[in-house]
C-alpha cells in the first residue's frame, strides 16, 4: 500500500510482484527458524523442578517445588543469544508494521481494511507490552503463569482474527457496484474529500495523473 502511494507521489509507474509481497514472510520465517534451530541445538529448554528454599520442614528439608521449562544450567548464557533476538525481531516487526499502517492511515481502501489492520497491530503491541511484565511477576507460580500465557496467546490470536474477518463477514454480500470509487487514489484527507465529492470542485491534474498510474495496473 505504502509502496504504491510513494510511487504515485513521484509520478512513477511501478509494478509490485509476488516476491515483493512474499519477501516479508520469507525473511521473518528464515530468521525465526534459524534462531529456533540454534536454541534447540545449542541451549534447549528443559523441564526442571525448582526447589523453593523458603518452605522447609522441621529438619530443614525443602518441601515445596514447582516445575517449569527452564534453561539448561550449563547453557544458561547461550540461550539468551537466541531468545533475545527472536523477541526483538518480532517486536520490531510489529512496530514497523504498525508504523506502516500509521502512514497509510488516511488512505481510504476498499472496506477500510487499513483501519482493521491498525486495530490488529495495536492490539498485538498492547498484548506484548502489558503481558510481558505480568509474565515476569508470575514466573514462579505455574498456575498463574499458565493462566496468563494462555490468555495472552488467545488474545493475540483473536486480535488478529476478529478485526480481519468480522467486518468482512458482516459485509459479505457487498458487490463492487456498491462501493464509492476513486477515494483510494488520494493520499491525504483533503484530497479524499475532494475526490469522493463531485460537487466539491475539480480534480487536480496531479490527482488525475495518479489515477492514470494506478489504472495501468
Amino acid at each position: 500500500m505504502n509502496i504504491l502511494l510513494k510511487s504515485s507521489q513521484q509520478m512513477r509507474r511501478i509494478q509490485l510482484r509476488n516476491r515483493d509481497v512474499i519477501a516479508p514472510f520469507i525473511g521473518f520465517m528464515t530468521l525465526n527458524v534459524g534462531l529456533l534451530l540454534g536454541l534447540t541445538f545449542v541451549a534447549p529448554l528443559q523441564w526442571t523442578r525448582v526447589v523453593v528454599e523458603d518452605n522447609v520442614d522441621e529438619f530443614g528439608r525443602p518441601v515445596e517445588s514447582y516445575g517449569t521449562c527452564g534453561l539448561t544450567v550449563s547453557h544458561d548464557n547461550n540461550a539468551y543469544y537466541f531468545l533475545i533476538p527472536i523477541g526483538l525481531i518480532n517486536f520490531v516487526g510489529v512496530l514497523f508494521a504498525a508504523y506502516q499502517t500509521y502512514k497509510a492511515r488516511n488512505v481510504s481502501t476498499e472496506f477500510s481494511e487499513t483501519v482493521y489492520l491498525s486495530i490488529s497491530m495495536i492490539s498485538l503491541m498492547e498484548t506484548a507490552l502489558l503481558g510481558g511484565p505480568i509474565l515476569l511477576v508470575v514466573k514462579d507460580n505455574p498456575t498463574a503463569n499458565f493462566f496468563v500465557l494462555a490468555t495472552l496467546v488467545s488474545i493475540a490470536c483473536l486480535s488478529i482474527l476478529l478485526p480481519m474477518f468480522v467486518p468482512k463477514y458482516l459485509r459479505r454480500n457487498t458487490t463492487s457496484r456498491g462501493l464509492r470509487p476513486v477515494s483510494v487514489l488520494a493520499s491525504s484527507r483533503n484530497a479524499t474529500a475532494a475526490l469522493t465529492s463531485p460537487s466539491s470542485g475539480r480534480i487536480s491534474q496531479l490527482e488525475q495523473g495518479r489515477m492514470a498510474i494506478v489504472a495501468r495496473h
Binding site: 500500500m1 505504502n2 509502496i3 504504491l4 515483493d20 509481497v21 514472510f25 521473518f28 520465517m29 525465526n32 527458524v33 529456533l36 536454541l39 529448554l45 528443559q46 523441564w47 518452605n55 529438619f59 528439608r61 518441601v63 515445596e64 517445588s65 514447582y66 516445575g67 521449562c69 527472536i86 518480532n90 516487526g93 510489529v94 506502516q100 499502517t101 476498499e110 472496506f111 481494511e113 497491530m121 505455574p142 499458565f146 493462566f147 500465557l149 494462555a150 496467546v153 488467545s154 493475540a156 490470536c157 483473536l158 488478529i160 482474527l161 476478529l162 480481519m164 459479505r172 457487498t174 458487490t175 470509487p181 483510494v184 487514489l185 463531485p198 480534480i203 494506478v214 489504472a215 495496473h217
Partner: protein, 197 residues
C-alpha cells in the same frame, strides 16, 4: 564367619565387630589437617558390650531422631480447572481459525473475499491456529502417578517457542504483506469520466 542357613544372612555372633566413636582431636588438628580420637564404643559378639557411651555430633549421648520420610510435599501442579480454561481458549481460537478459513475458501469468489486476497486470509488463519496450539504444551506437567517421562516434558518445552513463533510469523507476515499489497487499491477503482468532471 558363618551364615544363617535359613536366611542366608551372616550368623549373628559369628564375627566380632566394634563400633568406634570418632571425636575431633582439637589439640592434634591444624587448619589443614583434622585428626580424630577413635575409641571403641560398642563391641558386638555373642553379646553386645558397651565400653563407653557413644557421643554424637552435639557432644551429647542422646541419639538424634531418625528423619521421617518427606510428607505433604507441595509440587505446585496446575489444577485441572485452570488447564481446562486453557484448553477451552485453544478450542475457541482453533474453531475461529478453521471456521474463517473454511468461510474464506467457500466464499473465495465473493467480491469482498477476493478483494482481501484469500491467500493471505488463509495464511492468517493457519498462523493463529498454530499459535494457539502452543498453549497445549504449556500445560504439560508431571502426573501425580509420576509416569510422565522427562523426555516428553523436554519435548513439550521446546515445542512452545516453535509453535508460537512459527504461528506468529505465519499470521503476522500475512498482515505485513497486506500493508504492502496493491490489490485493495486496484479493486475499487471506477474510471468513469463522469466522476472527474
Amino acid at each position: 564367619m558363618a551364615f544363617d542357613p535359613a536366611t542366608g544372612n551372616r550368623a549373628y555372633g559369628s564375627v566380632e565387630y566394634s563400633l568406634y566413636n570418632l571425636q575431633l582431636a582439637d589439640e592434634k588438628s591444624t587448619s589443614t589437617n583434622l585428626r580424630f580420637h577413635a575409641a571403641p564404643s560398642v563391641i558386638v559378639a555373642e553379646n553386645v558390650t558397651i565400653i563407653k557411651p557413644y557421643i554424637y555430633f552435639d557432644n551429647t549421648t542422646l541419639a538424634p531422631p531418625t528423619l521421617p520420610p518427606l510428607e505433604d510435599q507441595v509440587y505446585n501442579l496446575i489444577p485441572l480447572g485452570v488447564l481446562i480454561y486453557g484448553w477451552v481458549l485453544v478450542a475457541v481460537v482453533f474453531l475461529c481459525s478453521s471456521g474463517w478459513m473454511v468461510w474464506t475458501v467457500v466464499n473465495r469468489k465473493q467480491y469482498i473475499v477476493q478483494a482481501s486476497q484469500p491467500i493471505f486470509l488463509c495464511q492468517l488463519c493457519l498462523g493463529t491456529a498454530i499459535m494457539a496450539l502452543s498453549v497445549l504444551p504449556m500445560g504439560m506437567q508431571e502426573n501425580s502417578d509420576g509416569k510422565t517421562s522427562t523426555f516428553d516434558l523436554d519435548v513439550a518445552c521446546m515445542a512452545i517457542p516453535w509453535l508460537f513463533f512459527i504461528g506468529f510469523v505465519f499470521s503476522f507476515s500475512a498482515l505485513f504483506s497486506k500493508v504492502g499489497a496493491p490489490r485493495p487499491f486496484i479493486g475499487c477503482i471506477d474510471f468513469a469520466p463522469s466522476k472527474t468532471h
